[in-house]
Structures are given as C-alpha cells and as structure tokens.
Symmetry: D3
Subunit: 320 residues, 6 copies
C-alpha cells in the first residue's frame, strides 16, 4: 500500500480542470527533496526537440501531457489495477535541456537519470523527441545492456543524417546498440510503416539481430500473437519500453512531427501495453508528442492514457 502523501488529488475533491497540473495530479518533488527517497516510480518530462529532423514541437510535450493528465483517475477500468495504491508515484519535474546545444542537453539528461537510478526510482518519461531515449539509456543501461520493446512507425536505427550528423531522433537506437546500451537480440520494434529513404536501417537491424514487426504483420497476426512473441524476445531480463506516439495512426495522434498514415487505433494503442504484464521493465518513455500540431489536445490525452497503462504494468511488476 502506498504512502498517502503520494495519493493524487481526486476529481471529487477538486474538479479535474482545477489546480496546478502535475502529472496525474501527483505531488511534485525535486530529486533533492528528502521524500524523493520514498518514490517508486518517478514521472519525468524531457521538454526537448533538438533532435527533430522534420516538424518540431516535442519540447512542448511534457507541458501538455501534464495538462491532459489531470483527466486520469485512480483505477484502470479494464484491468482494475490501482497504480497509485500499489506504488509511490511522483512528478519529478522536467530535466532542463539546453535548446541550442545537443551534447550539453544529452549530458544533462544522463546526469538526471543517473540520480534517478541511484535512488532506485523507475523512470516513466514524457518526451521530448526520440533522441531523448539515448541519454536515458546511457544512465539506465550504464552497467549492462538491456532489451527493448519499441512501438513506432520508424526504426530510428539510421546511421546519420544531413551528411554525417550522428545525433538526431532518427538515430538513437543505432547509437545505443553501438554503445552497448541495447542488446540487439533482445530488441523488438513494432508498427514500422510508411515510405522510406532506403533500407539502411533495416539492413543494420538484420545484421545485429533486431526483430522488426511491420504494421501489416501486426494487423494480420493480431496483437495477442505479436505481443507474445515480443515478450519472448525480451525474456525476463531488464527491458526498456519506448513508445513513439507516431506508432498510432495520425488521425488518432495528429500531434507529432513525422506521422505515417495507416497505423493502429486508440484501443489498439492501449492494448499493446496491456499485453506487457510481467515484463521486467526498468524504465519507459512516451515520446514525440508535439502539441503545436494538435491544438485539441487529443494526442496528449491519448499519450497520458498510454502512460497510465504503462504505470499499471509497473504497478503489477513492482509492488511495495
């Protein structure tokens, strides 16, 4: 049973549109607050999009995700999990990026997550563009490579962009494999689709053993079958969960920079996460929510709904 300090504000006490918007109406703590040592899961924003090669905006993601997250209540209607009772959850604030310096920003992020890890807090990240995952992995997988379940319409496995630029949102997992942060044989990428420059990313994936499940295969085999395979691939060792909102069809999630039509609907977007029960998740992220391309906030609301499902998975796996 969690500590009552960590109970979110109820909509019955304070209407859901009211109050300072922290993630899921949880208490906002900084890492130097003494209560941070009691936190099991820390929700963290990375308001950063310097790795974006196409349309920008994910720097605004954490703000809008917090805003929409006050619509989330205490209990998962589908699975009956009550994550805030199972775990001490808190909003740990945003990592402050340097919008005009990519390397400095990555260093700041890695340093922040190293602290999080040192406190034995499982981080649930609200991005930020997908390059965010790299500095996070540098902290979480500093000791040994981890597996990864990755929902996306792109592999993000490219070598470089624009004539040799190594750090963009299209390259994080290439770097992570090269740096020994990911064990490619324990990596599965689900939902890949859309037009492609070439097959350089796919060739790399094949060469190192990353399993790619395209959208056509997902729709044909069904979610249960594909997710069973995904669970097999990562096994019971440490696994990172990375969810690019552009995995979802852009009609359901227009607020993103590099949409690809023909993706899953919102029910499927939740289902794939529900199928992760039992996976040994040591950190998760939801990235590429770009509010300027979604003034209705629907993308962010779907995003936090997905984050709540992630939290319920963590609650099932790590109860106090």
């Amino acid at each position: 049973m969690s500590d009552s300090f960590f109970t979110p504000v109820s909509g019955m006490d304070l209407p859901r549109f009211a109050g300072v918007p922290t993630f899921m109406r949880l208490p906002h703590l900084t890492l130097d607050d003494p209560r941070s040592s009691d936190v099991d899961v820390g929700i963290i924003g990375i308001p950063w999009d310097s790795g974006t090669t196409n349309r920008p905006g994910p720097r605004h993601g954490p703000r809008q995700l917090r805003d929409m997250s006050t619509m989330i209540r205490a209990q998962n209607g589908a699975t009956n999990v009550r994550p805030f009772e199972a775990l001490n959850c808190a909003d740990l604030g945003d990592v402050g990026p340097n919008p005009a310096d990519i390397q400095d920003s990555m260093d700041r992020i890695t340093a922040f997550y190293a602290d999080v890890k040192a406190k034995n807090i499982t981080p649930l990240t609200a991005g930020g563009d997908h390059l965010s995952s790299l500095p996070v992995l540098r902290a979480l997988a500093a000791d040994s490579p981890v597996g990864m379940i990755h929902f996306d319409s792109h592999t993000d496995l490219f070598h470089s962009y624009f004539g040799g630029t190594m750090y963009t949102h299209g390259t994080p997992f290439r770097r992570a494999v090269e740096e020994g942060l990911l064990d490619p044989k324990r990596v599965v990428q689900i939902g890949i689709r859309g037009t492609a420059y070439d097959t350089e990313d796919l060739d790399f994936a094949e060469s190192v053993g990353i399993r790619i499940i395209r959208i056509e295969e997902l729709f044909e085999r069904g979610i249960a079958s594909v997710m069973a395979e995904a669970r097999d691939i990562v096994g019971d060792q440490n696994t990172y969960l990375s969810y690019d909102i552009d995995f979802v069809d852009p009609t359901f999630a227009p607020g993103t920079g590099t949409p690809e039509v023909g993706g899953p609907n919102s029910f499927q977007a939740l289902q794939v996460v529900r199928e992760l029960a039992g996976v040994n998740i040591i950190g998760a992220d939801l990235v590429e929510v770009s509010p300027p391309f979604d003034t209705s906030g629907g993308t962010a609301f779907l995003g936090v709904s997905i984050m709540f499902e992630m939290l319920c998975i963590l609650a099932g796996n790590r109860q106090r």
Copy 2:
C-alpha cells in the same frame, strides 16, 4: 404517408448550406402551434450544461447539431428507410434552461416534455449534458418505470459529487432508479471504459440488476451479439434510448467534455442503433456534444447522423 407540410427542404431546391438551420431542415413549430397536434416525432434541443463536472459546452450542442443536420438527406442509404415519409417530424425548438439554476432548469424541462407526451409526440432530444435525461424521464416515465438502452463510456450511476451534490451529469440514472423512473432490470449500459474513481457506481449497478457491457466485451463479442442481448434485456415494453456521444472514440467525437480513449469508430456508432429495430422506444436522446471542443463540427455531424438512425428506428416502429 406523412403530411407534405412536414417534408424537409430538399438540397436540390435549396443548397444544404443555405436557409435557417432547423433540425434536418424540418418545419419549426412551437407546442402552441395548432399543427403540433399532427406531429409524430418532435426533435427538441436542451441547450444546457449546468450538470457538467468537467469541461463545459453542451449548452451549445443543439445549435451546432441543427447546423450540421442540414447535411442529412431524405433516405437511409443502408436501410432504405425514409423517415420523413413514414412520420410527421418537426423541430419543436429548444427548452429554455436557466443556466444559473439547476432545479429551475430541471422543472422547465420536465414541464416541456410533459406537454410533448400529452400530445402523443415521441421526443428525440439533442442535449445538453447527460443530466438532461433525468428531467426528461420524469415526464416520460411519470406513470411507470421504463427500460433503457444506454450507450456511454460512463455509467452516470454515481451517488453524488463534490461532497454531496446530487444532481450532476454523473448521477442522472442513479436518481432515475431511486425515483422509480427506470426499471433497473431492464437497463443495459454499453461501452463503459476509461479510468475510474472507484467502483461505487458498478456496485450500485450490480445491487439493482443493471447490466453493464464494457467496451472490451463489446469488441470481443461483436455488435450483433451484444445488441441481441440488449434487445432481450429491454424486451417489448417501453424503453428509453440514451446515447452519450462519448460512447464513441474521442478521435471520432472530440467535441465532448469527458472523453475516454479506446472507443467505437463511426461505423460502429451507427451500427449499434441500426440493431434496435423493433425495440419499443418511447423517447431518445443524443447528449454531451460540446462544440467548443470541436471547431470542425465533425462531432456534431456524427451526432446528427446517429440521430437520423434513431429517427429511422422510430419510423420503422411507429408509422402513421
């Protein structure tokens, strides 16, 4: 065959973007107009949202539903029903609410619908938030309790909000059961989903015999199976039909105050109504359309498309 006075204006005579927008381009009558005694189905707006606990806006619903309804033509393409030939339909205008007094507003609504009932007009209501259904039921079920088929992502069966407030859009059907307006054993709620405060509503439903079909069950069993069960539950006695637009996935219906992701698509939104042929419907409503959250009007267009399906069901059941 209906009276030609009640024939909607054709888009071939006057383009569909033209003219004063009444519901489905029908004549606008007030209840004291002598022709109102010839009306079979009256479409009525309840521009009211004082029961809203979250995001407001349904007070603007009837206006935008009328606007988009001029896109509706004479014949149901799927079922070939021509409702305006089968029945005399009219736009009976809006019930004038008191935006700053909930009890006064409920009294005004009940009085209006008592007149409608007295004239033997079947009301098809455009809400308004879901509290609207309660004063309508007070008029329609004044003599004896009715059954209800209820599409929604929420049960609206809570006891109270904000420390004891009994009348909100989250409580109408709790009140309706308590007041003997609904026969709970003849009530079925379909599409329930999303996060929950607690299970107080579900416990009440179980205790009185209301059947709840969650979205997972709807998707798993399919619409035909679930709707067959729904028809069985209400049987052939008087039944009210209440359709909260948030039953539909918020990507298809963003213009609503309390969306829950992971719902039916627009085809399914129509299908569930088409499955109601033969049910003894004595009144129906489409509620919670909130135009300020849907500037495109897509939610209202879906809403009136659903209302047209309702009208076709009524036309099948009650021909002159």
Copy 3:
C-alpha cells in the same frame, strides 16, 4: 528585497516552455504551508464559471493563464519595476469550486479569501467568471466597503436574470453594493459598450452614484485623462481592482464568453493598469478568460501580461 525562496525560475536556467506551470514560475504553496506567512502577494485561481449566462469556459482560465504565464520574465520593460524582488509572491493554488452548486462555491471562495486576508496577503486572482468577484469582496470588504476600479465592456450591475436569478456574472456588483461591500460613490466602470437589453443597470448606477465611462468617452478623452479621474474617484482609501478581459477588443482577446466589438487594443489594455500607480489596491482580479474560445492562447497571454502589470503596481505600493 524579497526572500530568494520566492524568486521565479529563470528562463536562462530552465527554458520557459519547461517545468510544472505555476503562475509566473513562482513557488506553489498552500495556505497551510508555514512559508505562506511570508507571502506578500498570493496569486490564486478561481476555476469556476457557474455564473455564466452566455458562452462558458472560464473554469479553464486559471490553467491556461498559468501555462502562458511562464512567458513572463522578471522586469517590467516599460516601468523597470522588478516585482518579485520588491515582494514575496507565490502561487497559492486554486480555490476548489463546486461546479454544480453556486452557493456552495461562493462560500468556499469567501472562506479561502478570508484566510488569505487573515494572513495579510494581497490576493491577485485569476478567474473564473465575473461572479467570482462577489465572494472575494465578501472576504476582503467584510469590515468596511471598498472602492473599485472596474474595466469591462459590461456593468455587471443587473438586478437578476432569467426571471429572478440573483447570482450570475451579470449581477455581482449590484449584490456587492446591496451588501455594503462596495461604496458606490467610489466605484468607476470604464470601457462599457455593446448592445444592451435595456438601461436598468445604468439607472441603478446613476441612482447610487457609480461613475460609468463608456468606450467612446475613453477614446475621445484619452487614457491619461480618464485614469486621472478614476484615481480621483477612488481616492486613497481601500480599492479593489477588477478587470474583465472583455474590456479589451475581442480580436485581441477572443477567449471570452460575452465579447463586444470596438474595444481597446493590447497596448491600451496595459496602459490603463500602468496609470494606477499609487492607488491603494487591496486586491485585484482578471476574469472571464475562456480558453475554449481561444485555442491559440493569445487571450491568456494578454491576460497574464495584464496581471504582471497589476503585480508591478502592487510592488510599487507595498514594498517589504
């Protein structure tokens, strides 16, 4: 010089789009936090719009005003005032309203502001609809009536609405005069315009000695002349400042429920506040910002820019 605890986060340290959005990036305190006794000016949200007779939405005002307020920096470029150095400022959170009970909500607000007053904190309020000002005045003017400088396109002096409803956003100052909270001879209303139902409000104003300055007079005489008169009217006694965002032309402030065209521009919107230096302001509000009618956030940004000017006036008057 203020306490460094109360220094807002700088955009140089954390980019302005980052972080949990409190008002002007100030610390968020509740009234039971011991540090609240050091607060000079408390910024408070009233997320409430039950008094709205027309288009709703101000319940969302405080949330969006907080969001846009992170664009505000430390120094007033026009007057060189640095309010956060002059005063200890804090975000005191929102008063929790009861969206479905007007009287209960007013009682909650009055109780909250009585606490604020008891702690000798000057409240700067982000509404909420204009009815919010009444329960605030009940706390602040509990002992003796105050004067008021009121910017608005409406007088809000009507007796009642909808056949006798006494509490709406069109009646707060009628009630405040009746309840002895306002000294009508020390009240001036500036910017009145638009179409009118009748002259019942103007007749009342004349009968009790409230000075009304229509927009035509404001534009003809100029802001300096009109504001000099306003300062004379309120003199050096306790004065409340109430600013309805619909004072400003709706092109500059579309996000409001009852716009009237032909108002001041954004420069003039700031100028009128800058002319208040030296007025003995014991509380101020900025009301009627309705985010659903302004998806760009421009209205809220103008709103917080006005609130910053108010804060600078308070800083000039009350330095630690």
Copy 4:
C-alpha cells in the same frame, strides 16, 4: 412603435446560445406569409460565392452570421437607438442560389429583391460574395440609378477576369455603372488599399467620376471628415450602402477571401456606419464573410455588429 410580433426573443427569456438562430432572433417569414406586408426591414441571406476569384466560402456567410447574431441585444449602447421598436424587422430567409450557374443565380436574386421592393421592404443583405450586390441593384435601381457608399479594400470596378469573364466579385460595380444602376457621380469608395494588378479600375473610376478614398487618406483626415464628404457626395437621394468585410483589417476580420492588411480596426468599422445618420439608404449589404477562414466566428460577430449599426441608421431614417 413596432408590432410586438416582430420583437426579437430576449436573452433574459431564452439564453442567447439557445433557439433556432434567425437573424437577430427575429421572426422568420417567407415573402408569401401574409405578415410580410407589415415588414419594414427584411434581413435576407444570399448564400452564394460563385463570383469569387480567390478563396471561396461566402456561401456559408448567412448561416454563421445568423448564428452569431443571437449575441445582439435590443439597444445600441452608443446611440441609444432601439431599432426593433422603431421598425418591424424580420428574417426573410435566404435567396436560394444555383451554385453551379451564375446567370441563373443572378436572376433568382433579382426576382427575390423585386418582390421585396414591391412590398416596400428595405432589404438588409447578408452575403455572399460581392457579385451579390449586382443582382440586388438590378431590382432596387430598376427605375433610376442610385448613389452608393461603398466600404471595401477593393474597388470591384474591373472590366473582366480570366480572359473576358464579365461577372465576378471584382466587377459588380463596373457592370452596375454600365447598366445604369449606379450614378457614378454619387458613388464613393472608402478604404481602398493593397497591392494591385494595374490601374484599369482606377482609370475607369476617374473617367466616370467615382470618388475613391484610399485608406491612407481615411487615416490621415479622420473618419468624421471623410464621412462628411461621403454624405455630401450621395446627397439626399436614394443611396445604396455596400460594406465588404474586407474593408476591415484582416486581423479583425480574417474570415474573408481576399484580405488586404493595414485596414481599420473594429471600433472604426462601426464608426463609419454611425456617421451615416440621415443618409437616404434604400438598401444595404454586408458581404464577403467567409466562415471557413474564421473558425472562431469573430468575423461573423463583427459582421452582425456592423449590420446592427446599419439597422439603427435605417431606424433613424424610417420610423413607422
């Protein structure tokens, strides 16, 4: 004193967002209704934009103007005129255009306005693109040419478009002069600005004696001076008033097809009409409101505010 049948619905009786939206909440009559013989001013929509050479949309103008017009109350706050008491006003509905046949549409419009004129009703038109004015003038000026006060950023005096097309929204007044509907010496065009193809329109104006007052002259001399000259130009004979919403700066009126930056603000937009007291106006129009380019409805609200000022001028000139 007007007939109570023609009194608009009050917002005190029915909130302004409620009810079927007729123009200014007036009764909706067709010309074959016997009560139409009692009408002094008829407000008429022309939902037509086939003459548009640039961005379309004015076909939707009357619908949105009606919608926003329910925000208009009974009395002009600036001039104290109460037009609905001075005159019998009614919504005469829309002229049904043929969207795919320009000549047919013009014939329909002229026929409708000939009926209006025959009933001695002064028409106040909500367009529609500016070509609408030509068929209206064909009816109103059938017997003898009229003068015109014309607010616009364009002269609409071109000979033809696209290699010889004579009927577009850039040519109506060239045709009207050629057809003897306008007396060019009694025509004044105010607000002209923006980039130009060439000076063919200006050369024509000069050759026939039309007075053109560019925006620079309007701003330099001021509205009072310019409008005094305008009143002199038209004198006391029959005069048509034509107001293209693109006269106003596009920030205040974005919902239009051919905007030109650098125009009057909303206060000035009303002022120019108020200066028309005493002019012998035999018909007026407000054209080129294009709702698809203004989802907020602000353009339409400004448009109906202008129409209300026109109505007040008519009420001053023609009291029952």
Copy 5:
C-alpha cells in the same frame, strides 16, 4: 531505371520542410519544356471547385497536397516499390481553371490532358472537385470508352441538380456514360454510403450495368474479396482510377465538402489501392480534398499517401 533528372530531392540533402513544394519534390516542368517528352507519369493539379454543390474548397487542394507531399520518401515500405526509379515522374503544374466559368474550365482541362496524352504521359491528377474527372476523361477516352474503378461515398451518377443543371460534382459519371467515355459494364463503385435524396442514381447504375458495392458489403466481405471482383470487372483493358477522398471516413479525412460518416480507416484507404497491382490504369485522380475544412493538413497528407500508392501501382505496370 529512371533518368536522374527526375529524382526527387532527398530529405537527407534538404530537410523535408524546406524548398519550393512541388509534388513529391519532383522537378516542375511545363508541357512545352523539352524534357517533358521524357516523362512517364505527370502529376497535375486541377485547382477547381466550381462543380461543388455543397461546401467549397477543393480549388485549394493541389496547393496543400503539394505541401504535404514533401513528407513522402522514395520507397514504399509495404511493397518495396521505388516508383521514382522505375519511372520518370514530374510535376507538370496546375491546369489554370476559370473559377467563374464552368464550360471554359472544362475546355481548358480537356485541352491540357489531350496534350498530356499526346506525349504518352500517364496523368496522376490532384483535384479539384469530382467534376474534374469528366474533362479529363474527355481527353483520355476520346478514342474509346474505358473502364473505371471508383472509390467514393457517392455515385456521382445523378442526372442534374437545382432544377436542371447538368454539370456539377454529382453528375460527372452520368455524363461520361452518356458521352461514351465510360463503358458502364466495366465500372465499379466502392464505398457508397450515407443518406440519399432518392434512388435515381442507383436506378441509372442498374439500368446501364454499373456495379455498386456499398460500404456494408465492403466491410462484410473484406477488401481482398471486393477488390478481386473489381479487378474482374475492369479486366485487362484500359481503366481509369478515380478516388474521392470522401471514400475515407471523415474523421480520417475531414477536409472534404460532402462527408459521410462510417467509412474506411486510413490503413484500408491504402489497402484498396495496393490491391490494384496489374490493372491497366491509364490515368488516375484523387479528388475533393478541401483544405479550408482541414487546417491540420491531415487530409492532404492521407491524400498524397494514397497518390504515392497509385504511383507505385503505375510503376509496377509501366516500367521504362
């Protein structure tokens, strides 16, 4: 292998948001450019909507489709086709319509496509409203009637509108059958749905042998089965492909003038085209994209994604 002159600009060289937006970043040629004789497939815009009977806007379609098309890359991820290597593709610019003269516009379009055909270029058209298809067919089927696969929610087979108007976007294929441009026995229409005026179009279809597959049949049988039948119907002779974006559900494609709810999703929107491999397509169009009703650009992005699938079909059939 195509000529390198015809290779689109890569997003790796120039980011996809940069540069003058031609269709799919191809070279822009006019028909009098000598290089046009090397073109295999020419993408052509028809910025025209004079045939629209309902909401306008497709005149803006080509502009926004070009804009969004710069998000398309070189390779089809699902089928691995690289169309720009298989064929010489170019942007041939827009046919200049006369917005105020339907007959003149149709003549201009037919003349342009006659030139295209004379140069042995296969045209891929971005409309424009659906009337555009008629003048295109007059050029392409000048010698002998062609078959047609037609995706739409409407048949566009009506005789006339508004009392006898023969040329609107609801009549092109009636005219095309009458003019001997289409062989009705080789025409299949897929996706038909929504409310209907009457059955005049269906009666005509039946009388001449056009096969209509309603949306209910498409969903029940599945895409593979239906498309197999479609391929049988057109056989291996010359076939035109016409795709109205309103075939797709309006939530996925809101930017269109006459939406009908309950249609295919974006994955299915692509699937139906992928099933056309091997069909002898001599020209294709994607029509009725109306940007003013879709400010997000999502409809146009789906539209160009569909056009890319069409191009891949052409590339499979006609390799250099």
Copy 6:
C-alpha cells in the same frame, strides 16, 4: 525595365490559389542557373529554427510565406511602385540547413550568401529564426561593417543563454558587433518592449552606442519622427534591414515564438518600411514567422506584405 522572364504569373492568367507556390509567383532559379546572373533581387528562404530558445517553428516560415505570397499582386497601391518592372526578381530557393547542427547550418548559410553577393544580387530573406541574420551578415559585411535598421520587440543583444551558449536567436547582433559586422553607432532598434530578464542587453547597447527606441517612444513621437531619426542614424552608407515579425503586436502576428503584447498594428507595420525610401539597403530579412502557431496564415500574409514593401524600397533605390 525588367526582363519579361522575371515577370510574376498574373492572377488574371492563373488564379492566385493555383500553381506551384514560389515567392510572389516569381521564377524559381538556383544559383547555378545561368539566368541567375541577371537577377537583381533574390528572395531566399532560410527554413531554420535551431537558435530558438522558446517556442519553435520558423523552420516552416519560408514554406508558408511562399504559399501566402501568391496573394501579392504587381503594384504597390500606396506608393505606385511596380517592383517587378523595376528589377529582375527571382525566388532563389531555400538554403538547406542542418537542423541538428548549428555551426554547420551557419556555415552553409554564409556560403550561400557569399555566392549571392558575388553575383551582385541583393538578398531579401524569409527566415528562419533571428539567428539567421548572423551568418547572412558574415557574408554581406565580410569586407566592412554595415549599419542596421532593426524592427523587433527584443534587442537580440544578449551575451549568452543557458549557462554560456553563444549562438541563439537572442544573441545574433551581440556577435555581429563583436565580429565587426555591424557598426554599432549606425544601428537603431525600434519597437523594443515586454518583460525582461535583466538589462544586460541594454547596458551593452549603451556601451557601444546602439540606439534603442522603445515602443512607448515610437507611439508617443509617431512613426514619421522616429523613422527620420532612424534614417539619420544609418546615413547613406551600406545598411542592413532586419525585421522580426514579433515587432508587430501578436494579435496581428500570432505566428511567432516569443510574442510581446502591446505592439504596432498592421498598418504601422507597413508604414515603418515605407519610411525607408532612399536608405542604402544592401540586404533585408523578415524573420521569426512560425506557422505552427498561426494556422490561419494571417501572420505569413502580413509577413509577405511587409516583404513586398521592402522590395518596393529596393526597387526605388536600385533600378536597372
């Protein structure tokens, strides 16, 4: 008289919404096209926003500015200048930035503009964020420092951001002075306003002799007086013109990243440029247009209207 090759497409020949959108419908040339040697003024896009410290988006500026620029015609209505007859103008395309590498991007820009300068082409730039001006000045002022007239609400004279980052859109002119590109005594900044971090920028300006004219001074003295002083400051030597769209009030130009309320209106936005006749302008830019924050396109339309005024100034100064 200019070469007819460089004549923009007329809206009379091709409607303004049609065609591939180049800047002002001019021919699109690359610098290696032989005709580039005949160009007098080249309009160039810099689709880049890596220097943005706040809200992103100017990378999309050139695309939307091109789109809206097709609304510009041949002649300046206010000054009668016909710039395309006076000068050979062309769209020189976009400089390809590297979105993930600031230094690389600056080098690419400087190299491009060095070529432009070598060809004796005067560049008119469409940004891009304000950091763009620095690499442009490195090319144009390579030989000797230039003066500058700078319209903005910010000085962009800060030393560094985020703990030492030297290259952001808040620092370009500090760097330009340090690098000897600008002669500070010949620099004037007009329109400065809004809240400030501190006075470090103003202190620097004072220390080097840059003249700052705040918005209050501009409004008080009037545009004619201020611009006369500006002309005196720069004298008749080489002068760069830099116009940040946030100089204009954000209601008129919402599409920008760091708005400050209380600025000039759209008429004044043009006026200040018209006052530059005779100034020896060797290059000009219009920066910080951020389309994601202005879906209506109004900001871009104002932006290109300003660019057209710039072009007319250049045409007055440099006629062939």
